[in-house]
């Protein structure tokens, strides 16, 4: 037989192994790059830049923040052209807030020291130089300097007034809620057709009382608003137009070109604080995402209540109770399939089953007087939570099973040998030992649920919910309410909003927030699991 030698390059095939290694490196690189991208893009957007005034060749002047620069080929000549995206604000004056400016057209750059960025409740930020404050048609502070104590005192008092106004509005909200409750009671009475005139009369009297309260509050609100509307700040925009902004609309005046580093850092921190504590404004493109965080958290909590018992029970069944036979195989395949079914299908199921079957049945049985307005027969917190519980239950099962598997059989045998029943063993020995595993599963389930959006779109998430799902009004947890969600917020603001450019800081930072939450949850779970593994395996695995 002829001896066949294999050439060394074929035997070792080092380049191919290199390719394998490169694939792994690529996958890891992409993860790092993705995280880095979101962080680098997101973190910069809340940093207050200096305000620049550009003098263009055609004589026009623009004041604003340089958003980004890029080099693009000129459409006619094909030569690369550098251009600037300028955020010039004042959408109420010019209709847009952004503009691309060719760098070649710019003849003058300057940073006017008195230029300010004005954050306000409508129309996005305004940029300009403050001139004077008017009260009615009389100049009140002239000229105005935003560093001046006079201005600061005035602004503080306006803010105080606005806080009062907010109080009044909260009270009006409360009254509206009462009236809504009374309306429901009335519907209920009418539905029962209990011709109980005294109850009817009492109801009407109560209603009249609250309507009177409402009237008083509304009057108060009107006077407050009128008073607030008197104070107007006049700002000169870049093109010389006088922009008059009621002080009541202004949330902050930022003298961006006269701020020290400390002030900038404080402003930066304040913007993040606002992001997580405030309500959204202006079609969600400004303000904060507090209701979305709140909605996400409440949904996840309710989901946890459902997912843990079911997940743990299934895992116990598979590992502690069932003999390993065809049935456990089927269960295992079912668990696996449950994990693999596309999330949107759960959304469809949640809609068809929870909302339109269970929900309408509940409405028919318990809320017939509300017809045709659905209570539970429409998307809401409960249905979304249950849908997500179904979606995430395999995660809990798998993690719990792993934890159960890690418990040495001797421990079980010991407990049984001491005379404990199976349930006692499970209850007092197995479950405490497996608790970290269950927790890992729960954290992973929460991480998954936090990032999941598609099923929620069918089961109760909305872009703007008027009320939080949990509040201080009876019965405190409103399972039927629609809610906001961070992930959906990203989709909505980034893709459905009419003004995508202006929404960029918002959407990047919401993404950042979601990512931080999800990554933190995942890392916690991974850390926890590694600890369990080390505990039971005593080494690396």
């Amino acid at each position: 037989m002829r001896k066949r030698t294999i050439p060394r390059w074929r035997a070792e095939a080092t380049p191919l192994l290199g390719l394998c290694g490169a694939s792994l490196a690529m996958a890891l690189l992409m993860t790092v790059a993705m995280l880095g991208l979101i962080f680098s893009q997101g973190l910069g957007l809340f940093w207050q830049k200096r305000l620049v005034r550009l003098q263009l060749r055609d004589g026009s002047r623009w004041l604003g923040e340089v958003w980004s620069r890029e080099t693009v080929p000129d459409p006619t000549t094909g030569r690369p052209v550098r251009r600037i995206a300028l955020h010039h604000g004042n959408r109420d004056l010019w209709g847009t807030a952004f503009r691309w400016i060719d760098e070649a057209d710019v003849v003058g750059w300057e940073y006017p020291p008195d230029a300010v960025r004005i954050e306000r409740l409508a129309w996005g930020p305004a940029f300009g130089q403050p001139r004077r404050v008017w009260v009615g048609d009389k100049p009140f502070v002239d000229p105005v300097d935003v560093r001046d104590p006079v201005w600061q005192e005035l602004f503080a008092s306006v803010r105080q007034d606005r806080r009062v106004l907010q109080d009044v509005e909260d009270q009006i909200d409360e009254v509206n809620d009462r009236l809504e409750r009374l309306r429901r009671q009335e519907l209920r009475l009418r539905y029962r057709s209990a011709s109980d005139p005294s109850a009817q009369a009492a109801l009407q009297a109560e209603k009249a009382r609250w309507e009177r309260v409402y009237g008083v509050l509304a009057l108060r609100r009107t006077t407050l608003i009128e008073r607030l509307q008197q104070y107007v700040l006049e700002v000169t925009a870049a093109d010389g137009t006088a922009l008059r902004i009621p002080l009541a609309q202004i949330t902050a005046v930022i003298p961006a070109n006269r701020m020290g580093l400390g002030e900038r850092i404080r402003l930066y921190a304040r913007r993040y604080w606002e992001l997580i504590t405030e309500n959204p404004r202006e079609a969600n493109t400004e303000g904060g995402v507090f209701p979305a965080i709140f909605g996400t958290v409440s949904m996840v909590l309710i989901m946890s209540l459902a997912v843990v018992p079911v997940g743990v029970m299934t895992a116990l069944y598979l590992r502690e109770y069932a003999r390993q036979n065809w049935l456990t195989r089927v269960v295992r395949i079912a668990v696996n399939n449950l994990a693999a079914v596309p999330s949107i299908v759960y959304g469809v199921f949640g809609m068809g089953f929870f909302i339109y079957t269970v929900g309408t049945a509940i409405d028919r049985t318990f809320y017939p007087w509300m017809a045709p307005t659905p209570v539970f027969g429409t998307g809401g917190l409960l249905w979304a939570s249950l849908t997500l519980a179904l979606l995430t239950v395999p995660v809990v099962i798998v993690a719990t099973e792993e934890a159960l598997l890690a418990i040495e059989p001797e421990i079980r045998h010991g407990a049984r040998a001491l005379g404990a029943t199976q349930w006692q063993t499970v209850r007092h020995v197995i479950l405490p030992a497996a608790a970290p595993g269950v927790l890992t599963g729960l954290i992973l389930a929460i991480a998954r649920a936090t990032g999941e959006v598609a099923p929620l779109m069918l089961t109760g998430v909305v872009k703007l919910a008027p009320d939080l799902p949990i509040d201080d009004r009876f019965p405190f947890i409103h399972l039927e309410r629609k809610f906001m969600h961070l992930g959906f917020h990203i989709y909505d603001v980034g893709f459905q909003s009419p003004n995508v450019d202006a929404a960029q800081p918002m959407v990047y930072n919401t993404t950042l927030l979601l990512l931080v939450i999800v990554v933190a949850l995942n890392l916690t779970a991974i850390h926890l699991r590694n600890r369990i593994r080390r505990l039971y395996h005593g080494g690396s695995m």
């Binding site: 070792e12 080092t14 380049p15 192994l17 290199g18 390719l19 290694g21 694939s23 792994l24 690529m26 996958a27 890891l28 690189l29 992409m30 993860t31 790092v32 993705m34 979101i38 018992p309 029970m313 299934t314 116990l316 069944y317 598979l318 109770y321 195989r329 269960v331 295992r332 395949i333 079912a334 696996n336 693999a340 079914v341 596309p342 949107i344 299908v345 959304g347 469809v348 199921f349 068809g352 089953f353 079957t357 099962i397 199976q422 006692q424 990032g451 598609a454 069918l458 959906f488 990203i490 989709y491 980034g494 893709f495 979601l514 990512l515 999800v518 995942n522 890392l523 991974i526 695995m541």
Partner: protein, 762 residues
């Protein structure tokens, strides 16, 4: 029945007894956990059941059932002209106009006479009742609740029926019918001539009606109303035209939007185009069945007034409409239905959908649907001929009229007539299109819109997205897993795994956001560089061992070496990537003549959209990589260590061991990894929603977006009306998606189980 006290006492005693109590607890826990464990199966079956239950009604067969009420024989004879019959919105009453010029309101199904009046213009006095017979022909347009009658003098009157419903809470009562009449136009007739047949197309207002009238001498007149007067005192003035040239033997008439159609005894349809202020112009004469012509006996326009349903003397039924060709609009027979056993006497369109009833002279009734392209139901209901029928707007209440003028009440049950397997999965020739196509276009504002429920574009989009995701993810995931499972130090492996898990944990909404808002615009600029990058990656990967060999400072420890190798390769790849980007313009110059948009447009006919299949494929691939990676890695890790050690001890190189031991041994696991990745990509929703144009097009070009089943569900299901056809079709698509992933995943799981059992034996 009250439980005796002793029983309670016994339970109490047992509860106090610790041993018994713990046995109880044990038993209860056992049952509870068993049930809980099986809950997972229940959940899967429940999902399947709900999806099935919601989409099942789409395929329930329709039925036309007689409504059994005691209709007395004398009541069964309708006093009115069958062609003037109209039914109200709720299907509770009928109205029609009698030859003597009276109108009658009849109850459905008892045909009791509820109200009678004289068709009279508002100005004329009631006592000057015209002498009988005062109506020679009549027609009702079911969509407009309007119609026309011809008087013996040749005068044509328009009329409009209004049902005066009164609503009180949930209750509804009919206060009566009022019929408004409008003497409209005089058709120039010869002394012994009379109008024998009318057909009407109602406009937005009563005066905007178009009427075609056939006389006893075989002349055809067309009355078209034309706008006159200014912007504010707008008036509509009718103009009478005699239609020339006219076909020899006219047997059927129909007016659709812009056209007058005349069917002849030779089996032709003559098409006239209606003109502004001019007589209609003959466009063409189309022989419906050139090989075997038969007289056209019935014609009607369908919902939307665009398509025509036509029946002939041999019982053949077809739908035809104008189709745009290069040489102009051509009237084309588009689809055929099941032939009936006798001559078609009448065709009655439904008002809520593109369905129609055909009635024959042998007593057969059939229910067809144009879009579905099927004869949904047919039966011989009577021994005698039918003459006409009327269908209620929504409820499916039907009154069939036989040749003797007797009315028969029926109820049509068919909630989803537009769905058939052909309509869902086949090419359908929709109205206004030039050929049969696969189209998904579920709704629009108009009631007359023809819904297009072809699932093919969605399935195509799903597979297209999955394809691009997998060509990206499979090599990366599998090769990476091979490397990690086979060549890496366990310590490094344990350190890197969390990073991969993190990758799997990234929410898809974040990826979709990055792909749609950040990557898509940049990918457009950098496209040439990214294209070349694929080659550069291959090159970089293959040369990476060289980089390692040339690297001067190598640590001693294996684990440190592995870590450093990875870092070096990553740096090397990054450097190559940045080089590609730097030469972006140059690459575009060299390969694409300076403009790749134009290059692809000219060579391949592909226009570049910013949010396209490649971008989505990349983002979806990103989600799939960690899944493929971890399952494949697990499969590789389960290959027994001693096999590998044995191979290496016999002198095999690591590559040879990998090729001939590890890969064959873990093959089913690897296949399973790809399948699970496939299942995941199929169901991805948010990325598709955010990073594609989301248009349901059938275009294989990688530069065009698509719409997947899942994205379609997310977009359309919240808007769909519960129980509607659209809603159920969406559930059907969800069922498809569900079934598909279940099958793929179960097969993958069985494969994986095989691996586990082979090596673990436990």
């Amino acid at each position: 029945m009250a439980v005796p006290w002793e029983v309670w006492a016994r339970i109490g005693r047992q509860w106090r007894d610790y041993r018994l109590r713990r046995q109880w607890a044990d038993a209860v826990a056992r049952v509870a956990i068993r049930t809980g464990g099986l809950l997972v199966i229940v959940a899967i079956l429940g999902v399947a059941f709900v999806l099935l239950a919601e989409s099942w009604p789409l395929f329930r067969s329709p039925a036309l059932q007689p409504v059994a009420v005691g209709v007395s024989p004398e009541q069964a004879f309708l006093p009115v002209l069958a062609t003037t019959l109209l039914m109200d919105d709720y299907g509770e009453t009928l109205m029609g106009i009698a030859p003597d010029g009276q109108w009658h309101l009849l109850a459905w199904p008892s045909l009791r006479r509820l109200q009678t009046g004289v068709l009279m213009p508002p100005t004329e006095k009631v006592d000057s009742t015209p002498p009988t017979p005062s109506v020679t022909a009549g027609w009702a347009d079911p969509w407009g609740r309007r119609g026309a009658v011809a008087r013996p003098s040749g005068q044509i009157w328009l009329w409009e029926a209004t049902w005066n419903w009164q609503y009180e809470g949930d209750r509804r009562t009919l206060a009566g019918l009022s019929v408004q009449a409008l003497p409209w136009v005089q058709v120039p007739l010869a002394p012994d001539e009379a109008v024998t047949r009318l057909t009407v197309l109602a406009g937005e207002r009563l005066e905007q009606t178009q009427v075609a009238a056939l006389t006893s001498r075989g002349r055809l007149f067309l009355v078209v109303s034309q706008r006159a007067g200014g912007l504010f005192d707008e008036k509509w003035v009718p103009a009478v035209w005699e239609v020339q040239p006219r076909p020899p033997q006219m047997t059927a008439l129909a007016i659709a939007q812009g056209y007058l159609y005349v069917g002849t005894s030779e089996g032709d349809v003559w098409v006239y185009e209606l003109q502004e202020a001019a007589p209609p112009v003959r466009r063409e004469a189309v022989r419906l069945y050139p090989e075997d012509p038969a007289p056209v006996t019935a014609m009607t326009t369908l919902l939307g007034r665009f398509a025509l349903a036509i029946g002939d003397a041999r019982g053949r039924v077809c739908v035809a409409f104008p189709v745009r060709r290069d040489e102009g609009w051509q009237f084309t027979r588009v689809r055929d239905f099941r032939p009936q056993d006798g001559a078609i006497r009448s065709i009655v369109p439904a008002q809520w959908t593109r369905g129609f009833l055909t009635l024959t002279d042998r007593g057969t009734v059939a229910w067809h649907h144009s879009t579905a392209g099927t004869t949904r139901w047919s039966a011989r209901l009577a021994p005698t001929a039918w003459s006409h029928a009327v269908i209620a707007r929504d409820m499916g209440n039907v009154l069939l009229v036989d040749a003797a003028g007797r009315g028969h009440a029926y109820r049509l049950r068919d909630p989803h007539p537009e769905v058939s397997l052909r309509a869902l999965f086949g090419r359908v020739w929709y109205e206004g299109y030039d050929r049969p196509q696969f189209i998904w276009q579920s709704s629009s504002g108009s009631q007359e819109f023809e819904p297009k429920y072809s699932l093919v574009p969605l399935i195509f989009g799903t597979l297209k997205g999955t394809f691009y995701a997998l060509i990206f993810a499979v090599p990366l995931g599998l090769l990476g897993a091979l490397y990690m499972g086979q060549f890496m130090h366990p310590t490094v492996r344990a350190q890197l795994k969390p990073l991969i898990e993190l990758m799997a944990g990234l929410p898809s909404v974040v990826l979709g956001f990055v792909a749609g808002l950040w990557l898509a615009p940049r990918a457009e600029t950098w496209f040439p560089a990214l294209l070349v990058w694929h080659g550069a990656f291959l090159l970089g990967g293959l040369t990476s061992p060289l980089v390692w060999r040339l690297w001067p400072w190598k640590p001693q420890e294996r684990s440190r070496q592995d870590r450093l190798k990875l870092v070096l390769v990553a740096l090397w790849l990054t450097a190559l990537f940045l080089t590609c980007l730097a030469f972006n313009r140059a690459i575009e110059q060299v390969f694409f003549g300076g403009n790749y948009h134009r290059w692809f447009q000219e060579r391949w006919g592909w226009a570049y959209e910013q949010r396209n299949a490649l971008v989505v494929g990349f983002a979806m691939g990103y989600t799939v990589v960690p899944i493929i990676f971890s399952i494949a890695e697990e499969a590789i890790a389960t290959v027994p260590r001693d096999w590998i050690a044995g191979a290496l001890a016999l002198g095999a190189t690591p590559w040879q061991t990998l090729r001939s031991i590890v890969i064959p041994a873990s093959l089913s696991g690897i296949v399973s990894a790809v399948m699970v990745g496939f299942g995941r990509a199929v169901g991805e929703t948010m990325i598709v929603l955010m990073a594609t144009g989301n248009t349901p097009v059938l275009d294989p070009s990688p530069f065009v977006g698509f719409r997947t089943i899942s994205a379609n569900l997310a977009v359309e299901l919240p808007e769909a009306a519960v129980g509607d056809t659209h809603y159920r079709v969406l559930f059907l698509s969800a069922l498809l998606l569900f079934g598909f992933t279940i099958v793929v995943n179960t097969v993958a799981e069985l494969l994986r189980e095989r691996v586990r059992r082979r090596y673990y034996q436990r």
